[in-house]
């Protein structure tokens, strides 16, 4: 009996795999594979971001009838934020749809690394917005990877600029002390060399304090913070580490409005669990929170009123993660539009054409206004040389109920970041025997 059920089960599974690979290829449909994660420790981020992204694509289909008549189709694949599963999803989604998967956005630095070589072989552009490999911003070495909007290093320089402005000028940073509380992982450590370089440049001292994963115990770290008496604390947190840090800060009496988090510390999911302690906490973000932007309203009018929305908890529409998903959607759709303008309107773009679309993507403030996303996300211009495209962030403060925008877009310190990116990319190129492209020959 048991054997029979098992056989039956595997037979069903096998046959469904077979049928899925033989899905009918339909013309004039642009397929976008979504390696999403809706279970596990990071489900809050995954369901919010992929939900917002799907809703934006649904908006484009419902309101505009697709991109110049090309409907968007998508399929999710559950990665559980696991690298091996992510690779499986990449391979599974690769050959789906009319032209195969045309863009891969895994929302996980680990999966990004795992498919880094594969995307170049398979000619599928990979877009990593606000995570992933920082030095991939050098498009000469990484033609297929687009760490768009801003990377961790750029964001860190903007953060120091923000702190400088709060102190009343960059020269006032001299003699100040900043504590960098970081998640003790590759992700957390990435900004240490940059902070050290900035400390030297502006004359402040920086103390790095690691928190081991998952970070739900930070007593000793915050006692250390109390001993150090810093002027500011930078929180480079992840998941459960964020609310714990905020609560621990309240316990040792460190003012939360002197704490600045990265964008993975700045969502509702990071502050609400900390309760009142989170009031005043500041975080950087390349997108803002709020449902009162025209683009979010359009989604509610065109998608949710027709009951086609993706979010189960409608209260999350307009949250930081949801809006970040909308940003993913805008960038993806605008890249399709850009590619179509060159390779033929109303045609389905393949991976190579999409890559061109991403590389020549330019969304200025006028275009943002047309999209209903003015102030919602920074304007960007991607080039062959610079796959980051923007580098701007806004700072938001938690008022106890919601995130309030504190600043306008703050530019990164490109003079400091760019040489470090080029150096790191050149090292990678040497290790992998890649000859960097000559950008003057790209068109």
């Amino acid at each position: 009996m048991q054997l029979k059920t098992k056989l039956l089960l595997s037979a069903v599974a096998v046959s469904s795999v077979l049928t899925s690979s033989a899905v009918l290829a339909q013309a004039s449909e642009q397929f976008i594979g979504l390696p999403s994660y809706r279970v596990g420790a990071y489900a809050a981020g995954g369901s919010g971001i992929y939900g917002g992204w799907i809703d934006y694509m649904a908006l484009v289909n419902e309101r505009d009838g697709g991109v110049n008549g090309v409907k968007l189709t998508w399929e999710e694949c559950e990665t559980e934020y696991n690298n091996a599963r992510g690779v499986e999803c990449y391979e599974r989604l690769k050959s789906k749809g009319a032209s195969g998967n045309t863009v891969f956005q895994p929302l996980s630095t680990g999966i990004t690394y795992s498919v880094l070589d594969k995307v170049a072989q398979d000619k599928i552009p990979m877009v990593t917005i606000g995570y992933g490999r920082t030095d991939a911003s050098d498009g000469r070495v990484f033609p297929w990877v687009f760490p768009m909007l801003t990377n961790y290093w750029s964001q860190n320089t903007a953060k120091i600029k923000f702190i400088g402005a709060k102190e009343g000028g960059m020269d006032k940073l001299k003699g100040k002390k900043i504590v960098n509380i970081y998640h003790d992982s590759a992700y957390g450590k990435e900004t240490i060399p940059l902070l050290d370089a900035q400390a030297k440049k502006y004359g402040f001292t920086v103390v790095h304090i690691p928190v081991s994963h998952p970070g739900n115990e930070q007593q000793s770290q915050w006692l250390r913070v109390r001993q150090e008496k810093p002027d500011w604390v930078i929180l480079r947190g992840w998941g459960v580490m964020n609310p714990t840090a905020i609560k621990a800060a309240a316990k040792v009496g460190f003012p939360r409005d002197k704490m600045v988090g990265v964008w993975w510390s700045g969502a509702e999911e990071d502050t609400i669990p900390a309760g009142d302690a989170a009031k005043g906490f500041i975080a950087a973000g390349f997108n803002v929170a709020g449902a009162n932007y025209p683009v979010v309203k359009a989604i509610q009018d065109n998608v949710y009123k027709k009951n086609k929305g993706n979010m189960e908890d409608k209260a999350r529409i307009g949250s930081v993660y949801y809006n970040r998903g909308v940003v993913h959607g805008i960038i993806t759709v605008e890249a399709i539009r850009t590619a179509q303008a060159k390779f033929g309107k109303g045609k389905v773009m393949n991976g190579e054409q999409m890559r061109w679309g991403f590389e020549n993507l330019a969304i200025d403030s006028k275009r943002l206004k047309e999209l209903g996303a003015e102030g919602f996300m920074p304007d960007l211009k991607v080039t062959c040389l610079d796959h980051e495209g923007s580098g701007k962030v806004k700072f938001q403060q938690w008022d106890g109920k919601q995130w309030k925008v504190l600043t306008d877009w703050i530019d990164a310190d490109k003079e400091l970041v760019r040489p470090m990116i080029e150096e790191s990319a050149a090292k990678y190129a040497k290790e992998k025997n890649i000859t960097p492209r000559d950008c003057s020959k790209e068109g």
């Binding site: 809706r38 279970v39 399929e75 690394y113 795992s114 070589d117 189960e312 290790e431």
Partner: protein, 355 residues
């Protein structure tokens, strides 16, 4: 009827001592090998080779390693993923730092490094047993991942701590097509599985099992406890190390220390529990269950139930079904899938006249 062994006489010691004494088993395994070596690379699609078969084989190898330690020698370990990490990072560094290093030698050296680390972390097993030992091996898990993140040298000072495996070239042939990668992994796994099978049938394996069943009695009959236990740790870590190297070189290409976390160790432990503790085929069955079933469930949900269920329910449903199946199999057969196969075989021998 098909499985009747009547009439098969063993006239020599060699015939009596072969791995598969029954002719039907021999034919079965030959068919299986022919299928794996010839039919699969000929007919399987790129997706099947790259995303299903290679990780299945790699995890089978890791489970095999843990099964030697836990299933045969009775030493519970939660550090398998860490030993995989040692194998992956060591192979990478051997390839990086020594010019003209042959790939297979780098894999073997990576395995040896893992074996050395395994011996070091196996030392507590001389004093402590059972769950306490599991906690001691947990230290290996955390320490090694921490060390690989902390010391930049291991990842060639990459700012993010990740390593990118070199191209796989053996005697000038580049293993870059999915078929070539699959065949390379399959060959290594097949040879190592054969070695494991022979090891557990020999005096070494018998010593392991004696220690597992009762170490005081084993000592009394003259088995050197220290040597036996540490050998089990070394061999097991060697297998895990090679699996880690294959995971990095043939499957992911780029790996980070965080990828070899406690979750992965648990996964490998579940593989041998589901597959069958103390059995070689159990490692393969368990790996198939843990690696492939979630993928099948996801495909099933995406294709059959797409649109019917909201996405987050669909995703959680897979986990629930998967968990339910684990419980189901453990209830009907606590000794794992390998035992189910064994029972089936015994019934087949009598079929169709069981009385």
């Amino acid at each position: 009827m098909l499985y009747r062994e009547a009439g098969q006489f063993k006239a020599t010691y060699a015939a009596d001592q072969q791995i598969f004494p029954i002719r039907q088993d021999r034919i079965g395994i030959q068919l299986l090998l022919a299928l794996a070596f010839v039919a699969v690379p000929l007919f399987a699609s790129e997706y099947w080779l790259k995303a299903i078969m290679v990780p299945f084989l790699v995890f089978s190898l890791a489970a095999l390693g843990l099964n030697i330690l836990t299933g045969y020698a009775g030493q519970l370990s939660l550090g398998s993923a860490a030993f995989m990490a040692v194998g992956a990072f060591a192979s990478y560094n051997f390839m990086l730092r020594i010019d003209g290093m042959p790939l297979l030698v780098a894999f073997a050296l990576g395995g040896l490094m893992a074996a050395l680390v395994g011996i070091a972390f196996g030392l507590p097993s001389l004093r402590i047993k059972g769950f306490y030992l599991a906690v001691a091996t947990l230290a290996a898990q955390f320490f090694i991942v921490w060390l690989l993140t902390k010391v930049g040298w291991f990842s060639n000072d990459s700012s993010s701590g990740v390593i990118t495996a070199q191209e796989m070239v053996i005697l000038g042939y580049r293993f870059d097509s999915p078929q070539a990668k699959y065949l390379l992994v399959l060959s290594i796994v097949a040879v190592m599985a054969l070695m494991a099978k022979n090891m557990v049938r020999s005096s070494v394996g018998r010593a392991w099992m004696a220690v597992r069943d009762m170490d005081v009695a084993a000592e009394v009959i003259g088995i050197r406890i220290m040597y036996t236990k540490l050998l089990a740790f070394a061999v097991s870590s060697f297998y895990c190390g090679v699996a880690g190297a294959l995971y990095a070189f043939a499957y992911l290409g780029t790996v980070e220390p965080e990828g070899f976390n406690l979750d992965l160790s648990f996964k490998i432990l579940f593989m041998i529990i589901i597959g069958g503790v103390g059995s070689i085929s159990g490692a393969f069955l368990g790996s198939a269950f843990i690696v492939l079933l979630p993928i099948f469930l996801d495909v099933l949900v995406q294709d059959v139930f797409a649109g019917l269920l909201s996405p987050s329910i669909a995703s959680n449903m897979q986990l629930m079904v998967f968990g339910g199946l684990i419980i189901f199999f453990l209830i009907v057969e606590p000794h794992g899938l390998a035992r189910l196969w064994q029972i089936a075989k015994e019934k087949l021998r009598l079929w169709p006249f069981p009385h």
